[in-house]
């Protein structure tokens, strides 16, 4: 593969940080243009740059920024597209949502400035995570993304959000420390044989083949624990439902859509590379992931809080991604990445729709208190229902295809018991989400409007444009999966290339 020098990857990291500084410097209390305006403009340019970057990567180049250790292959480019696209959509949704929160007195203009600046810093940290080629810096960048979102989770500074923020930082920090230990163990074992090359992600294949058995398994186990904490798999999930439900809804979309995917990305870069050489690893991850997907969806079924239900369903869905990536086969990685993309789109859609419901009803998010919103909010209810069906794996929507790919990959690996659990989880997911969608949008409201019940109106255009884009993408990928095929294929090959080199 041809290598090419480029400053684009570095630009993608520094540009949002520059934007954050701009907002802090020039964001004025009374003028929205200087906060939301700058944030959206910066992110628009960022998305254009990400598209330019992936254009050259998918036409067969490998972008390298000299001196900063950045390396962009097809997987990085794919993640870059997702990260910058979703962040832009979330920012657009935030404008009206946070405006209303301010009117209700939950936040102040000064804190809103911090909100937009933190989202931009978060975008920079995520772009760094997916482009760095240095093992330890991967850890550093992932931690940076955790810390950038910590204050967003605790943004309302209520009891519940402080608790969620505290748990989030503490648990993810401890988990990620384990992954740092795992990385150091691998480095120590490979360093005498490979020198400082042992720290580069594109030399992981050599590391996997050369180092002694016990050190490899210990290192991989520690790293899996760390990345599973970041991704929120059971039993490391304690932070996830709290953080995802207590954050402002647009931030929930970022957390569920993007930040847990960083754990999956790191897994694909490290543990997946070890899987072909060590047969215990696919089994270990399959056990972890299948337990996690089943427990996650059962917990989701018993929730009454809409956001908490979606958070637990994220626990369950990210386990599909882990299971696929852990297999280490072409089909497994392909299915895992495909599901990663689909879940990002769908979960962002669902959280943004939930945000729209909360916007329209004045913050109600209990399923039992909501009802009958389909009449007053047709666009939102269509988007939510589409998301629910897609996540449940109903054809012809996108997640059906990725789940089916994963099922075939599991069959190929002869993990029949895991296949059964995965199918069962799929059915439960469908039941759980469609039930919630029915209760919120179609079933009669708990209290009729005259008796002081809900009064809701459709959200303004600026809010449903993001939802419409995500719903459209889900439908598009479901109907024409060939649009995405070349991207996923080259991303999968990029993961496997590390092993073959």
């Amino acid at each position: 593969m041809a290598q090419s020098e480029s400053l684009l990857p570095l630009f993608l990291i520094l540009w949002p940080l520059f934007g954050a500084i701009l907002i802090q410097l020039f964001g004025q209390e009374r003028r929205q243009l200087t906060r939301e305006g700058i944030a959206i403009a910066v992110m628009g340019v960022q998305l254009a740059a990400a598209i330019a970057q992936s254009w050259s990567v998918f036409s067969g180049l490998l972008l390298i920024t000299a001196g900063s250790g950045l390396r962009v292959d097809a997987l990085s480019a794919l993640m870059g597209l997702l990260i910058n696209g979703i962040t832009l959509l979330v920012l657009i949704q935030s404008v009206r949502y946070m405006q209303k929160e301010e009117e209700h007195g939950f936040t102040s203009p000064r804190r809103l400035r911090l909100y937009y600046a933190l989202i931009l810093i978060f975008a920079g940290a995520m772009n760094w995570t997916v482009t760095t080629s240095h093992l330890i810096l991967l850890y550093v960048a992932m931690e940076a993304s955790t810390l950038a979102t910590a204050l967003l989770v605790a943004f309302y500074r209520k009891k519940a959000s402080l608790e969620a923020g505290y748990k989030y930082v503490l648990l993810v920090m401890v988990g990620m420390t384990f992954s740092l230990l795992g990385m150091v163990i691998l480095f120590a074992a490979a360093q005498p044989l490979l020198g400082s090359k042992a720290l580069l992600l594109n030399h992981m294949g050599e590391v996997a083949r050369l180092i002694p058995r016990k050190a490899a398994l210990l290192g991989v186990a520690f790293m899996t624990v760390g990345f599973a904490t970041k991704a929120g798999l059971v039993p490391f999930h304690a932070w996830l439902p709290d953080a995802h439900s207590e954050a402002p809804s647009p931030v929930s979309a970022l957390l569920s859509g993007l930040i847990i995917k960083l754990g999956a990305y790191a897994l694909a870069r490290t543990v997946t590379i070890f899987a072909p050489a060590w047969h215990g690893i696919p089994l270990f991850i399959a056990i972890l992931a299948s337990a996690s997907m089943l427990i996650g969806i059962i917990m989701a079924l018993v929730q009454d809080d809409l956001k908490r239900m979606l958070a637990f369903s994220s626990v369950s869905q990210i386990s599909y991604v882990f299971m696929g990536l852990g297999l280490g086969s072409y089909l497994g990685i392909y299915g895992g990445l495909f599901h990663l993309v689909n879940h990002t789109l769908i979960k962002a859609l669902l959280f943004l729709s939930t945000g729209a419901v909360m916007y329209a009803t004045g913050g109600v998010r209990r399923i039992s208190q909501l009802g009958g919103l389909a009449k007053t909010m047709p666009v939102t209810s269509f988007c939510f229902f589409l998301g629910a069906l897609a996540l449940g794996g109903l054809p012809p929507l996108n997640a059906f295809l990725s789940k089916f790919t994963l099922f075939i990959a599991l069959g190929e690996a002869r993990l029949w018991w895991a296949l059964v659990i995965a199918i069962l989880t799929g059915l439960l997911t469908l039941a759980c989400l469609v039930r919630a969608a029915y209760m919120v949008f179609w079933a009669p409201a708990a209290l009729p409007e005259e008796a002081g019940g809900l009064t809701a109106h459709e959200v303004p255009f600026l809010m449903y444009v993001s939802m419409a884009v995500l719903a459209g993408l889900s439908l598009l990928i479901g109907l024409f999966p060939n649009v995405l095929y070349p991207l996923l294929d080259s991303a999968t090959r990029a993961v496997l290339a590390v092993w073959i080199n």
Partner: protein, 222 residues
């Protein structure tokens, strides 16, 4: 030989300081114990740099002093002023807790000392000093984890996290002294930022909940 002895002695002193940081119930003094431990780690870094003639380790020592010897203790002491001075009562009494901890540490040290080759199949470990350094670091790591699991006080939990990160620093020293200084700065910046955010949230938690007991953080347990 004498330098090697110094290394082992410093490791033991670091273990003592960690016990003090975990067990002392007065938060201010526990923070001072944490500071002592960090300074001992700096000393150890300097000794190690001198022993192995690895110049870049002096830089490690400098950044360690700045972050763990100055910034983090300063943050700790500053935020401890805003919360009750005595840690929220732990489950075990002081004497029992210390005895249990001592026994646990001796057992863990022996286990780690014997099995360290699984973790690091490196020839450099043949020297006993490095081996005991690594075993000691693993014990401090477990101690930090134990603090997180067994203590209910939010500030004490943060000190436990600090201990874990100090242990990671020692493990990095023993296993990967070739790491570049920039990487080290990245890791340490994260640690400082994480501890700052946790303390900031702890102060708010005390303001709203009226307690530093993490078991009271049960708004979300449903």
């Amino acid at each position: 030989m004498i330098a090697g002895q110094t290394l082992v002695t410093l490791t033991m002193a670091i273990l003592m300081a960690s016990v003090a940081a975990v067990e002392i119930r007065k938060l201010r003094i526990a923070a001072w114990a944490y500071l002592t431990q960090s300074l001992l780690i700096c000393l150890l870094l300097i000794t190690y740099a001198w022993l192995t003639a690895n110049g870049s380790l002096y830089l490690w020592a400098a950044t360690c002093l700045l972050t763990k010897g100055i910034i983090i203790p300063w943050l700790l002491l500053r935020y401890i002023k805003r919360v009750p001075q005595i840690e929220h009562k732990p489950l075990l009494g002081f004497a029992l807790s210390v005895i249990l901890l001592g026994l646990m540490m001796v057992a863990l040290y022996r286990i780690f000392y014997r099995t360290i080759f699984i973790m690091a199949p490196v020839p450099a470990l043949l020297e006993t000093q490095v081996r005991s350094l690594l075993a000691g670091a693993c014990v401090v790591f477990c101690l930090g984890l134990w603090t997180l699991l067994s203590r209910r006080d939010v500030i004490k939990t943060v000190i436990g996290l600090g201990l874990m990160e100090n242990a990671v620093h020692l493990i990095l020293l023993a296993l990967a002294p070739q790491l570049k200084e920039t990487t080290m700065i990245g890791i340490l910046t994260n640690v400082v930022a994480a501890i700052f955010i946790l303390l900031y949230l702890s102060a708010d938690i005390y303001r709203l909940f009226g307690s530093t007991d993490s078991a009271r953080l049960s708004e979300l347990k449903r």
